[in-house]
Amino acid sequence: MNTEIEYTRLSGISGPLIFVEGVRGVGLGEIVEIRDASGAVRMGQTLEVDEQRAVVQVFEGTSGLAMQGLRVAFVGKALEIPVDRDMLGRVFDGLGRPIDGSPQVISDRMMNVNGLPVNPWSREYPRDFIQTGISAIDGMNTLIRGQKLPIFSGSGMPHNLIAAQIARQARILTAEEEFIVIFAAMGVKFDVAQFFIDSLQESGVLTHSALFLSLADAPSIERLVTPRVALTLAEYLAFEEGMHVLVILTDMTNYCEALRELSSSRGEIPSRKGYPGYLYSDLAAIYERAGRLKGHKGSITQMPILTMPSDDISHPVPDLTGYITEGQIVLDRELFNKGIYPPIAGLPSLSRLMKDGIGVGRTRNDHAQVAAQLFASYAKVKRIRALAAIVGEEELSDVDKIYLKFGAAFEEQFLSQDNEENRSIEQTLDIGWRMLSILPRDELYRITKEEIQRYYMPERGVK
């Protein structure tokens, strides 16, 4: 061990990196303690080592560091945090240190924040329906326990409200098990963090939540560690303590920008929009830490939030995220401008695990058909609206006009609900049927005759 040895010779400082000379026997990914002339300590991690030199990424940033007067010590192991049940109800900084005034967590269980890859053989396929109380999600883009389902948003849209509503309302129908909420904030404003704290507090969920805050004024490089610290606690609580954990990560775009910053200061060859070529693998290392494991009771459900720069879903961050996560909830600027909350886009939103988590014994027999029919009919509404914009509404056929009526009702009554409103899945499906009952019976081609007989009620349809 070389914790005793301190190095003082630097050959450079660049962005979040310092280059330490003359080091011996230092490993890749080791934690580094950097003490500046005033005695203040920062933490870092080695990114590259050779026989003379170590490249160190400083989590707190290099602002104020000088080439002279630094003392650098290598700890000899990767970043570890103590994990314990007692961390619930607490607030930590982005590196996992308490900032709520209460003492440091004491635990003899230390875990490496980088985690280990889960053996695909050891995974349990997620199938348990989570009722979020939000119709657009429960009815059409069902969240499943152990799923990673991101919210793709844009600046100004109410992704935080939605995430907080989900955190408050999420329930498993089959068992009386509460969710533990772990909240990781990367580069978000103080008021956003405060909003979550207040929201969790009001609903009494705060006592079984843990918050990791790396706010906008914290060094950007710290954000690279924050989700890992949060997920490490989540893994401990889920797979060693048997809890069901909901992890909210916001905002992943800020995380990716920090990664881009680091990559560019290392002089790496960029791929799209300056993001490093390994952005996909790096995001996967975070997102794949969700799921269920065979022989373990707990689960990790992930809900990353990201803002799409200029609402562009093909931007590398949402694009690569969509390739890794099991679907996406997309917020729609047009719905938002219409004043609809939650403005969850009908068509581009998707839950890949939905098909195995709904139906008889999980939600209701007609669920899959209602969802498919709503998707198809709403897709048609979009086409008819495009046509109406050109030929005028008057010129539309009678059926098309009924579709427009359906479209409006669907947005105002099915999608739209109050921020405090917690709908059961039965309520959601019933509203769905009320919407479908606006349409002529023959238009419901994705629903079997039996289900139509049972639920189709044109007299109840809003005319």
């Binding site: 026989e51 990767a78 890859p117 794949e288 890794i324 581009p348 897709a379």
Partner: protein
């Protein structure tokens, strides 16, 4: 045993390690790095150092750590026990790893790829004293209820078979010897083969048999030949993985090698839980009994992802050499290309397009070239079909991986975001997709039905006409079109909903036999031919659409079983009868009683898969 050489680490940059002292080591030899003996491969030799890419997480590795090598290339162990097994990218058994170290993959773990204790009942097919040649089949054993495993003389070995022992053996037992001038070869049931070196064959043949996938849009419109190559490009959410799963489940290859390369963990879990339960209709056995799986999910080490497709295709070649038809599904080759890019960037290679190294195209070509229809060394036919998913960033097909892939594959199944959004699966676009195998497999289909190509081309021309008309409809609505064109829209919609769209979860629709495919499409075209005549006689599109027998058409795919195609004949008669009834109603005037409001609208027939 090869000689062991030792060196030491001088620099570590992510998974790329530089070492010195490894004199005599060759390119692509295996090196074991550090105290955990992490597996790595030599990827570059410099005058002052050896560059090694490490296949495992190498956090904590430090300069000065030891590196050892036996100067052997990275190889897979080929033998009985591969079937139904699941491996990581460097052929470590994932089941064994979970038994040894729990839910997570701990680094440095080493386990034999094949069960070394399991006994296999070996039946020799050749007697001692015979002259044997490379690739010759000298015996067989039952590997799974579906697969008879042929034991081959390894490539490069020939001479006189001096002994061969039947009975129960493990892969460790010596079961035969071959003597030649070069010395004595002691043969076992399993042998190593370097992953980056294609296994030899006697000659390449022209592919001429279609790989029947049971997916109508593929088999009928964009078929692939056994021994061919195909790419499935599509943005996220377009159903690449679902399409790959459907192909792996229902295509008529003897062996499936499924490579999950840098994709989601839960998707592999889905395959792992599904395949043992799904029953192959052709033989009544679980699909897992013909499947080998390689899973290197997105969070597993990147270099192992790069090598996983070679591991998979080498296993495929081994079964091809036994005379089998093998299908390789690689999901996704983009993740493989990204692994290549990531490693190239760490090596400081000069990038070409979008940061990908200049050798991307060469590597892709080499990989797809390992597909083919061949005569094996033992004189049998064997083939490998490679189907690679491509994940273009932003769904943009002009990016380098899609572009280069399309140069080397002869079948291109483009997935369409619009179709996927409308939940039309498989979302293979009939406008952007193509196949070059039509002339190769035409004879096979013509033996089934001489009109195949004519039927296909006619249906295709209706779809293309529809595509053109849709541009007009977008501007003026369908009501403004003349009846004949409205009817084209109607028939095209019928082709889309009653034929192209297929429900992978419907017990009947999930697999559609070629016989049923052609009958289905013929019925639709019959409607087209007769309908055009009816329109001339004054019947309206609305009236044709309103016939019960016409609206039943969309349900044929999920109601008529493959084994009972007589029902198709009966339906065809009913259709003719129904259309006749319209004709007889003219020109004396016709009560418009059957019409309901939505009948004109062809889209109301969408689906029928509910």
């Amino acid at each position: 045993m090869d000689e062991m050489i030792k060196g030491r680490v001088i620099a570590v940059n992510g998974p790329i390690v530089k070492a010195v002292g490894l004199d005599g080591i060759r390119m692509y030899d295996i090196a074991e790095v550090g105290p955990d003996r992490l597996i790595g491969e030599v990827i570059r030799l410099l005058d002052d150092a050896t560059v090694i890419q490490v296949y495992e997480d190498n956090t904590g590795l430090r300069p000065g750590d030891e590196v050892v090598s036996y100067c052997r290339p990275l190889s897979v162990l080929l033998g009985p026990g591969l079937i139904a097994n699941i491996y990581d990218g460097i052929q470590r058994p994932l089941v064994g790893i979970s038994e040894a170290c729990g839910s997570y993959i701990k680094k440095g773990i080493k386990l034999p790829p094949l069960d070394e204790k399991r006994l296999w009942e070996f039946h020799p097919l050749v007697e001692a004293g015979a002259r044997v040649h490379p690739g010759e089949i000298i015996g067989e054993l039952q590997e799974s209820p579906l697969v008879v495993h042929k034991v081959l003389i390894p490539p490069g070995i020939s001479g006189t078979l001096t002994s061969i022992i039947d009975g129960a053996h493990t892969i460790m037992d010596e079961i035969y010897t071959v003597e030649s001038d070069a010395g004595i070869h002691h043969g076992r049931l399993a042998e190593y083969w370097p992953v980056r070196k294609p296994r030899p064959n006697r000659l390449r043949k022209k592919p001429h048999i279609p790989l029947i996938t049971g997916q109508r849009v593929i088999d009928f419109f964009f078929p692939i030949a056994r021994g061919g190559t195909a790419a499935i490009p599509g943005g996220f959410g377009t159903g690449k993985t679902m399409t790959q799963h459907a192909l792996a489940k229902w295509c008529n290859a003897d062996i499936i090698v499924y490579i999950g390369c840098g994709e989601r963990g839960n998707e592999m879990t889905d395959v792992l839980t599904d395949f043992p339960k799904l029953i192959d209709e052709r033989n009544g056995r679980p699909l897992i009994e013909r499947t080998v799986m390689i899973a290197n999910t997105s969070n597993m080490p990147v270099p192992a992802r790069e090598v996983s497709i070679y591991t998979g295709v080498t296993i495929a070649e081994y079964y091809r050499d036994m005379g089998y038809s093998v299908a390789v599904m690689a999901d996704s080759t983009s993740r493989w290309a990204e692994a290549l890019r990531e490693l190239a960037s760490r090596l400081g290679d000069m990038p070409a397009e979008e940061g990908f190294p200049p050798y991307l195209a060469t590597r892709l070509a080499e990989f797809y070239e390992r597909a083919g229809f061949v005569e094996t060394l033992s004189g049998q036919d064997g083939d490998i079909t490679i189907i690679g998913a491509v994940s273009p960033p932003g769904g943009d097909f002009s990016e380098p991986v899609t572009q280069h892939t399309s140069r080397f594959v002869r079948c291109f199944w483009a997935l369409d975001k619009g179709l996927a959004d409308a939940r039309h699966y498989p979302s293979i676009s009939w406008i952007d997709s193509y196949t070059e195998y039509l002339p190769d497999i035409e004879n096979w289909w013509k033996n089934l039905d001489s009109q195949w190509l004519a039927v296909r081309n006619e249906a295709m021309s209706i779809l293309l006409e529809d595509n053109r008309l849709q541009q007009v409809v977008k501007l003026v609505g369908s009501d403004a079109l003349p009846p004949v064109q409205q009817f084209v829209l109607f028939v095209a919609e019928m082709i889309k909903n009653a034929f192209l769209q297929q429900n992978a979860f419907d017990p009947i629709d999930k697999f559609c036999s070629p016989e049923k495919q052609i009958k289905l499409l013929k019925v639709i075209l019959e409607l087209h031919h007769r309908g055009v005549d009816l329109l001339k006689a004054g019947v309206t599109v609305r009236e044709i659409a309103a016939l019960d027998v016409v609206s039943q058409m969309v349900r044929l795919k999920s109601e008529v079983p493959n084994q009972d195609l007589d029902q198709m004949g009966a339906y065809s008669n009913r259709l003719a009868h129904g259309l006749d009834s319209l004709m007889s109603g003219y020109p004396e005037g016709h009560a418009d009683a059957r019409c309901d409001a939505g009948a004109l609208d062809p889209t109301k027939l969408a689906g029928g898969t509910a």
